[in-house]
């Protein structure tokens, strides 16, 4: 099937809002190149479960397409149109299974040395759509906080090595015992002052601390233990099969539904959050077994998809490295933790947290704080904090947070 053959009935299997969205934009979809339209449909298929900012992004791409003449649209999508695709891809049910199309397209592009051309076309497309319809202003400067090193004792690793050149290093943070409470209180205040769905997040790599404020979206390693255990059983079965097929495995993971691993909207959950949490552990690599990876990936995905105004991430010790079947038996065995290795993981995770925050609107005004939990080291990257400097004066986290709000 080619895009020009799309009809409203093609989307009969889509959820309600996605189906209506596609029907309204049928003519646009029919004129897109085959290498492009399934990738757009992959996003559209889950429109009903998307966060508000994701919908804005998707709508922006269609608005941009709708604003172009036929000639201009062809020019902007030339990078996709020029890709050489095999006929096999046309035969796939890319309307209802765009993820499978995407996987096969990727393999084909690598095999035929076209992946660089595809990558360039994708980067250009996103840039042009964003330039044509830029993000609006945000109500308050964005704030990211990374709490790292829970449970780590004496440390000889030079922390914040990538963040220090970007901001001010504070080696004498006072009252570290009140640090977590101060940070979560600041999160609660921001949630109250700038309310909105999925605008303020708290991600914890262990058992979360109660925030005591409404309007904070919370995701944690501990609360996902039942879902993880259910998923690990499925993974273990695949792992122990006599013949392992990685592609079938990926397809199996991609087709899991929230209810299959206990993430059920019917039990009072939020469908968007349930699906978000599910994808963290079905699409992430290592998120099923290492809590530090889980936090880093959850932060990346929350920032990319929900674009929160505030995101507090608290890393906790992960389990030690073992054979995969041992790692997957997490729920049935006593955990052997690695706090020092987790500190190093989290230090890099904090840097990635900042990097991903800087990809969002208002980056030049955003603030970021990383702190070694229970200890006196922190770094702040924000306007007003001189890059590459160190401040030896004792300072409390509450004070730093006040300067960032």
């Amino acid at each position: 099937m080619l895009p020009g053959q799309l009809t409203a009935e093609s989307f009969a299997g889509y959820p309600t809002q996605a189906r209506a969205f596609a029907a309204e934009r049928l003519e646009l979809l029919r004129n897109l190149p085959l290498a492009f339209v399934p990738l757009l449909l992959r996003e559209l298929l889950v429109y009903d479960y998307k966060f508000p900012m994701e919908r804005v992004d998707l709508e922006r791409q269609f608005r941009f397409l709708g604003s172009l003449s036929a000639g201009d649209a062809a020019k902007h999508l030339e990078g996709f149109s020029k890709l050489r695709l095999p006929r096999d891809l046309e035969k796939l049910d890319w309307v209802n299974n765009p993820a499978i199309f995407s996987e096969q397209l990727t393999a084909h592009l690598w095999n035929t040395h076209q992946i660089d051309a595809f990558r360039a076309a994708a980067v250009l497309w996103v840039k042009e759509a964003s330039t044509a319809f830029p993000d609006g202003p945000i109500p308050v400067r964005r704030l990211g906080v990374a709490i790292i090193g829970q449970g780590a004792g004496t440390n000889e690793y030079r922390l914040f090595r990538k963040l220090r050149p970007l901001g001010t290093y504070f080696p004498k943070v006072a009252k570290p015992e009140t640090g977590v409470a101060s940070i979560l209180a600041a999160l609660g205040r921001r949630a109250q002052a700038h309310p909105g769905p999925y605008r303020h997040w708290y991600v914890d790599g262990g058992t979360p601390v109660p925030v005591g404020a409404v309007g904070v979206t919370r995701v944690s390693w501990a609360e996902l233990a039942p879902a993880r255990a259910a998923l690990q059983v499925k993974m273990q079965k695949t792992y122990e099969a006599s013949v392992f097929d990685p592609e079938a495995f990926r397809t199996m993971m991609a087709q899991i539904k929230p209810v299959e691993i206990g993430l059920d909207a019917a039990s009072g959950g939020d469908e968007a959050i349930n699906r978000f949490q599910m994808t963290l552990i079905t699409e992430g690599s290592g998120t099923q077994v290492f809590s530090t990876t889980f936090v880093q990936w959850a932060v990346r995905e929350a920032l990319r998809r929900a674009q929160p105004l505030t995101l507090v991430a608290r890393f906790a010790p992960r389990q030690r490295e073992k054979q995969m079947n041992e790692l997957l038996a997490e729920s049935s065995k006593r955990q052997d933790l690695d706090p020092q290795g987790s500190l190093v993981d989290a230090d890099m995770g904090a840097y990635y947290h900042w990097l991903n925050q800087q990809r969002l609107a208002g980056a030049e005004q955003s603030g970021f704080l990383a702190w070694f939990e229970g200890h006196g080291e922190a770094v702040v990257v924000a306007p007003g904090f001189t890059k590459g400097t160190s401040s030896d004066a004792p300072v409390e986290l509450a004070n730093l947070l006040g300067r960032l709000s």
Binding site: M235, M253, V344
Partner: protein, 382 residues
């Protein structure tokens, strides 16, 4: 064009730092008197190749922040080596297919997770056929089951019976443990590939199995298992087996693919760096073993190279060090170190070369023609 510029920027940063630390000569002075050439000893030449399977970035190796992870490469081996700052891999960035591309000198395009032989002749086949060498003269020590067919291609003019012996130490250890009750003590040596969360393709190659180990390696199952208990990782086991091969057969062509670094796919930065530190130490150990062995000393060229890099931190389509999926400059550009009698010491080569150039280069050293390779011999080390 953008990619080319990024590659150059990466290598320029590394080159400048290397020069400031080591006083390494630039390519422009390559033919000058300052570059010392190692002494060429008598007898047949030998080649040892070590690839860092799992991909390592500049950031964690030769960039300023990474140098603390590679003290042996920096301080011991670099001053003795010719160092290529831009080794570019233009092929598919999956470990098996990328290693196969390096081994054949041609960009292979098969499914990375399939148990298939490379399409093009391997370096081992060229060597054995052209130089008329026996099977015991070329060996591969590879990390995971997925590499079982790396030693021999499906090319009709070469292929069957002309490949290298393949040893998969993890496979041997796993088989040895089926009859023992203390398997838990070895679990750290049996870790799996993380490129996909669970990767364990079926075996269909010509690897040495447990029953052949005593006969081929002159190593009993008990001795192997006992020694394995003292090792920290699969890569240590690979180097242990490689040294054993050197002692038993003194092969002219020995290829070792290290793979601990691939733990990066699990997203744990500390374990990824641990893998790099281990690879650094093991490369030095192997070089020292070469220098102490009369069969190898002064007549062995050793090549050390990551199979490719990993995604850049700033590439929005990736997730930094964790994967090598974007095909950006950071994931395609890495380095190569060459040590031995043909490699001038303390020299840095800036020009971009490709990972497929390695096999024709070995061909020039060992006197075979890699006729189906798309690469070219590296003039500086042949």
């Amino acid at each position: 064009m953008r990619f080319h510029h990024q590659s150059q920027a990466i290598s320029t940063t590394r080159r400048n730092f290397l020069q400031s630390v080591t006083g390494a000569a630039a390519a422009s002075s390559f033919f000058g008197p300052s570059a010392l050439k190692g002494m060429v000893g008598p007898g047949t030449r030998k080649t040892v190749v070590v690839t860092f399977g799992g991909g390592a970035r500049d950031d964690e190796t030769f960039a300023p922040d990474g140098q603390e992870n590679i003290p042996h490469l920096m301080n011991e081996l670099l001053p003795q080596s010719t160092f290529y700052t831009q080794m570019v891999n233009k092929g598919i960035l999956g470990h098996y297919v990328a290693t196969a591309s390096i081994v054949t000198g041609a960009y292979e395009t098969f499914n990375n997770f399939a148990a298939v032989s490379p399409d093009n002749p391997t370096v081992f086949e060229y060597f054995r056929k052209d130089v008329r060498r026996p099977a015991t003269d070329s060996w591969v020590v590879a990390p995971s089951n997925g590499f079982a067919r790396i030693g021999e291609s499906g090319n009709k003019a070469y292929g069957a019976g002309l490949g290298a012996g393949v040893i998969l130490p993890k496979r041997l250890l796993s088989a040895a443990l089926t009859s023992r009750s203390d398997g838990a003590r070895y679990e750290h040596l049996l870790r799996d590939n993380y490129e996909t969360p669970l990767h364990a393709p079926s075996l269909t190659g010509h690897q040495i199995e447990l029953g052949q180990m005593a006969e081929v390696l002159k190593l009993s199952v008990d001795d192997f298992s006992t020694h394995a208990r003292s090792l920290a990782s699969p890569d240590e086991m690979s180097v242990y087996v490689a040294k054993h091969l050197m002692k038993e057969f003194a092969p002219s062509l020995l290829w070792v693919t290290l793979h601990d670094i691939d733990i990066a796919h699990s997203g744990t930065f500390s374990l990824y760096v641990d893998g790099i530190k281990r690879s650094d130490r093991l490369c030095a150990e192997l070089w020292q073993a070469i220098q102490k062995d009369p069969e190898y000393a002064n007549k062995t060229t050793m090549f050390i190279l990551p199979d490719f890099g990993r995604d850049s931190d700033i590439e929005p389509g990736g997730n930094g060090f964790q994967h090598h999926r974007t095909g950006d400059a950071s994931s395609r550009t890495t380095w190569m170190m060459v040590l031995g009698p043909n490699a001038k010491q303390n020299v840095v080569i800036d020009r971009a070369v490709e990972s497929v150039d390695l096999v024709p280069t070995i061909g020039s050293l060992l006197k075979f023609d890699a006729r189906l390779s798309s690469g070219k011999p590296l003039a500086e080390v042949v």
